[in-house]
Symmetry: C2
Subunit: 188 residues, 2 copies
DNA sequence: CGTTTGCTTGAATTCTGTCAAAGCAGGTGG
DNA sequence: CCACCTGCTTTGACAGAATTCAAGCAAACG
C-alpha cells in the first residue's frame, strides 16, 4: 500500500488507523468495477492499472468521462455518498489492482479520523477545480486543441487507452480523431 | 441573514458562532465582485440578486461558467483556497446583496466549527456532482437540448440573464441561440 | 433625443458527425 | 504456428451543425 503513503499526507500513526479499512482487489481487463444502475458500495484507490468511467446515452453511445491510473481515486460519488443508483459504469482497461474501502468503513473513518476527513476535503476540492477546468476547455477549445491538451497533460493515456475512448473523452467521434491525427502528422 | 438559516442545516447555537464571520455587501448591476487576475480574499453567499462567473479566452471572447442566484455560493475556489490568482471574473447581473466571508474567518471556522466544516464538505460534494452532470450534458446533448434543459432547470434565469450570456453558458454563439429560439417558436 | 447595447437574420464558411468500405491489428482455437 | 475472427483504426465522400460576418432593428439609457 505504498501509494496511499506516498502522498505523504498522513503520519505513521494515522496510517495505522486508516489502512486496515482497505482491502486489496484485482480486476481483469474489461472487467467492471461497478455497473450503471447498481448501488456503489465501495470506492477505489488505484494502485496499478487503468480504469475508465463511462455512460451510455439515450442513443446507446458510450461516453468516457474519466480515466484513472496509478494514484487516482475512482468511484461513483453520487451513488456511494447519496445511496442512489450509479449513473456511470467503471471498467478496467488493463489488469488493475486497487485498494477498496466500503461505505461503512468510509463513514467510520470520516467520523473518527480527522486527518482522513481533511484528506477527503482536499480530494474533493481538487476534483472540483479539475472538473471546472475541463468544462472551460470544452467551451474554449476546438476538438484539435483538446486533443493536444490531452497529449500534454496525460501522455501516458495515449498508449494505454484505445483511440475510441480517447475520442469520446474529448467529445468527438473516433473517425474525426483519426482525421485530426492524420492532419497533424502531415503538417509536422 | 435568513437564507443561511433557511438551509436549516445549523442549530441556533452553531449559527451564533458562524454568522458573526459574515459581512453584508452590495453590488450594483455590472459591478465586479472579483476580477480575473486578482487574489480572491472572500467568498459570497447570495442573498438577493444574480451573479455570473465568466472567463475571457485567448481570442477575447467571454464564456459564462456559472450563474448564482438567491441561496447560491459564489467564489473562486482556486484563488480563495490555494491563494493563486483568479482565472475567472465574477459580475453582478442585477443589483445584488451578498454575505461575504473573508479567508481568515473562513479558515478559522473550518478549524474550530465542526458543523461548518461538514456543511462545506456537503457543499463541495454537491458542486462536484452538479459539475459532473454538466460535463455529461455537454457530451450527450445537442445545443438545442442543452437549451431546453436550461429552460427546465433554471427557468428563472431566462428572464433575468441576457441571451448572450445564456448562449455562452450552454456553449454556443448568441446568433445560434437566436436560430434555436426562432425554430422552436415556429415548430410549436 | 442620440447613443449604446443587445437581439435577430441571412449567406458564406468552417467544423464535426455520419456512413460505408477497407485495412490492420490482436486474440483464439485448431 | 497458422488461419480465422473480431474489433479497432483509417479513409473519403457527404450531410448537418455551429460559427462568422455584416447588416438592420429594437430596446434601454443617459
Amino acid at each position: 500500500m505504498k501509494h496511499l503513503l506516498s502522498y505523504d499526507f498522513f503520519t505513521e500513526k494515522e496510517l495505522e488507523r486508516i489502512l486496515p479499512s482497505f482491502n486489496q482487489k484485482s480486476f481483469k481487463k474489461k472487467e467492471l468495477l461497478l455497473q450503471e444502475g447498481t448501488l456503489s458500495q465501495e470506492v477505489y484507490f488505484i494502485h496499478r492499472g487503468c480504469v475508465r468511467s463511462f455512460l451510455v446515452d439515450y442513443e446507446g453511445k458510450e461516453h468516457s468521462i474519466l480515466f484513472g491510473t496509478e494514484g487516482y481515486w475512482m468511484g461513483d460519488l453520487q451513488s456511494f455518498i447519496n445511496g442512489s443508483l450509479a449513473s456511470y459504469s467503471y471498467q478496467a482497461i488493463e489488469p488493475t489492482e486497487v485498494f477498496a474501502i466500503k461505505k461503512t468503513d468510509w463513514d467510520q473513518l470520516m467520523d473518527e479520523e480527522a486527518s482522513f476527513q481533511k484528506y477527503v476535503g482536499i480530494l474533493f476540492r481538487n476534483a472540483l477545480i479539475t472538473q471546472q477546468e475541463r468544462i472551460v476547455e470544452l467551451f474554449t477549445l476546438s476538438a484539435e486543441e483538446r486533443y493536444e491538451k490531452l497529449e500534454k497533460s496525460r501522455r501516458d493515456l495515449l498508449k494505454r487507452v484505445p483511440q475510441k475512448h480517447l475520442a469520446s473523452y474529448i467529445g468527438i467521434t473516433p473517425e474525426f480523431l483519426s482525421q485530426i491525427r492524420k492532419k497533424r502528422t502531415e503538417t509536422e
